[in-house]
């Protein structure tokens, strides 16, 4: 009897500490892409027209693939507007999960990597290039692959950025090679709508998800009564101040409707939608808003 109890005890200890924890796998590639920052060609607020040379970039972006990189598919239309490349695929998990990100570098010219914020990893999966210390994960050469093994620990709930951290990171990040991780608490309910907003810049324009100016930036939709979650991130050189018209949320000191974030900072905000209308969302740094960092949020009854 004691032996049975001992074996049973050993079995319980050996079982995964987090019941319900999953292993999530993603296949991601760094792919050379032609990207149009202003697909409509103009800013409807000022009627400024932009020639092609000022808005079309040849760059490298993270894109999502099926298992084994067999075929490419759209990153995440539902959460990032119709942007298909910036940000990279939204990687989802829950606290306690193991996340395997299989990365392949399709750029024939330069190395790239993936470095993740918010999650835990052994040094080999850090994804940054440190001469003399880092291994292949920080410098994935053209045509090569690497699997990053990540753990969503107890403090991982939230939204985090991931980005290139290889020797070419400066040029890559300014070209759009970044994405987001969205991690829910173990038992946290998913929102009805999730919107990813990444503030950065590209080709001299201030961008939201790689696009600039109303009509080009993502248009988000929701219905009154739905729980919406905004995942807001900033990448690059500058600080931004996120603001949504017609809405406010609760911060550490009470009501908030503008929140600052600096490079690589991120936060998520949730509310139950109660305000029908066509609302602007934008960075409140006046020069940024005027150079493209503004979008539309439509709430229907």
């Amino acid at each position: 009897m004691a032996r049975v109890l001992l074996l049973f005890g050993l079995f319980v200890l050996a079982a995964p500490a987090s019941a319900g924890a999953a292993v999530r796998e993603y296949w991601v590639g760094a792919v050379p892409t032609t990207w149009n920052v202003i697909p409509n060609g103009h800013d409807p607020m000022t009627h400024t027209v932009f020639p092609a040379a000022e808005r079309i970039a040849h760059t490298v972006l993270y894109r999502r693939f099926t298992r084994g990189w067999r075929s490419q598919f759209r990153n995440d239309r539902e959460v990032s507007g119709d942007n298909d490349g910036i940000p990279g695929p939204l990687l989802r998990a829950r606290v306690g999960d193991t996340i395997l990100v299989h990365f392949r570098n399709f750029d024939p010219a330069r190395s790239h990597s993936m470095h993740f914020h918010g999650v835990s990893y052994a040094e080999a999966s850090d994804g940054s290039y440190v001469p003399g210390f880092s291994g292949p994960g920080g410098n994935v050469r053209p045509g090569k692959t690497f699997t990053y093994r990540l753990q969503a620990g107890p403090n991982a709930a939230g939204v985090w950025s991931y980005h290139d951290h290889s020797p070419s990171m400066h040029a890559s990040i300014s070209g759009g090679l970044y994405g987001a991780l969205s991690i829910l608490g173990r038992r946290e309910q998913r929102p009805d709508r999730e919107f990813v907003v990444v503030f950065s810049s590209l080709m001299g324009h201030q961008t939201i998800n790689g696009r600039a100016y109303l009509g080009n930036t993502p248009v988000f939709h929701a219905k009154v009564g739905e729980v919406v979650q905004w995942d807001v991130l900033a990448i690059g050189e500058e600080h931004h101040t996120f603001h949504v018209h017609g809405h406010r949320w609760v911060g550490p000191e009470g009501g908030v409707d503008v929140r600052t974030l600096g490079p690589a900072e991120s936060f998520r905000v949730r509310w139950r939608e109660d305000a029908p209308g066509a609302w602007l969302y934008h960075c409140h740094v006046e020069g940024h808003m005027g150079h493209g960092m503004i979008g539309l949020y439509r709430v229907s009854r």
Binding site: N40, H42, P44, L214, G215, V219, A278, L296, R298
Partner: protein
């Protein structure tokens, strides 16, 4: 064809510059202007107005300044025509372009509306030079208008050809590059209400065979989005049957081809019955 007398004191629309002002400044890590057109024999001065050292080097054409400290200048007088891109070798993202012509002729921004003349502007070697504008007709250059160059050798012509045409300017034995002038067709749009609502678009002059797009205005995209494709028939006409279940703002665009620019109709609103 409407010859227009040169207007002294009004710079030509194109970047071609009169002799006195061929100065390119470097106010920072850039060239201003980035693109300059001059004539053979007109000196160009680059001036370093920055606090860093710069230089100017072109792969062809012989523009080579050596290092220029803050405040220094470099003068280059072109002796051959051509297009010469140049860079600062210290800051290679600083790029500029010098265009050198025997005789300069350029079209100002192409008109977007039908019936508006295109302004051709240029620079002749000297004020008072007689400039002849010629048009290519069946392989032969035919005189179209004449004018005397104004101050700094500047001149302008306003042209409104009925069909796509190429023009060039002549001064003595100097001849400019040819400039193609496009024609913007006029597109009219009629709504015919019957069992179905039909939009009928016609383009003038005839653009029989041209491709056409029916576009709808999408409010939240702040832009027109193509929704249907078609082609103009031999009478330069096309029809589209449209839904009447929702309110739509629509227009027709005849796509540019064969020397004609895009032509757009005025928008119409189709309301549910």
């Amino acid at each position: 064809m409407l010859p227009v007398a040169d207007m002294p004191g009004t710079p030509p629309h194109g970047p071609a510059a009169p002799a006195a002002t061929n100065v390119i400044s470097m106010p920072g890590k850039a060239f201003a202007p980035r693109d300059l057109a001059v004539l053979i024999g007109q000196p160009v001065t680059w001036r370093n107005d920055d606090t860093s050292t710069h230089d100017i080097l072109s792969r062809s054409g012989g523009i080579e300044s050596g290092f220029l400290g803050p405040g220094a200048s470099y003068v280059f007088t072109p002796s051959v025509g051509g297009v010469f891109p140049y860079i600062c070798t210290i800051h290679p993202q600083m790029q500029g372009r010098l265009r050198v012509y025997g005789l300069a002729l350029e079209a100002a921004a192409a008109p977007r509306l039908p019936g508006r003349p295109t302004v051709l502007s240029g620079v002749a070697p000297a004020a008072g030079d007689e400039v002849v504008l010629t048009r290519l007709e069946a392989g032969v250059w035919v005189p179209d208008a004449r004018i005397r160059a104004g101050g700094g050798g500047r001149f302008t012509f306003a042209v409104l050809p009925a069909t796509p045409s190429t023009y060039r300017a002549e001064v003595g034995d100097r001849v400019s590059d040819g400039v193609a002038v496009r024609v913007v067709p006029r597109v009219t749009l009629r709504v015919r209400r019957g069992a179905k609502v039909v939009l009928e678009a016609t383009a003038t002059p005839s653009r029989a065979g041209a491709r056409v797009r029916l576009e709808r205005y999408v409010r939240e995209r702040f832009t027109w989005v193509p929704v249907r494709a078609g082609r103009l028939d031999e009478r330069s006409r096309v029809t589209f049957a449209v839904r009447t279940t929702v309110r739509q703002r629509l227009r027709v665009r005849v796509l540019a081809s064969r020397g004609y620019a895009d032509g757009r109709s005025a928008p119409v609103v189709v309301r549910p019955r």
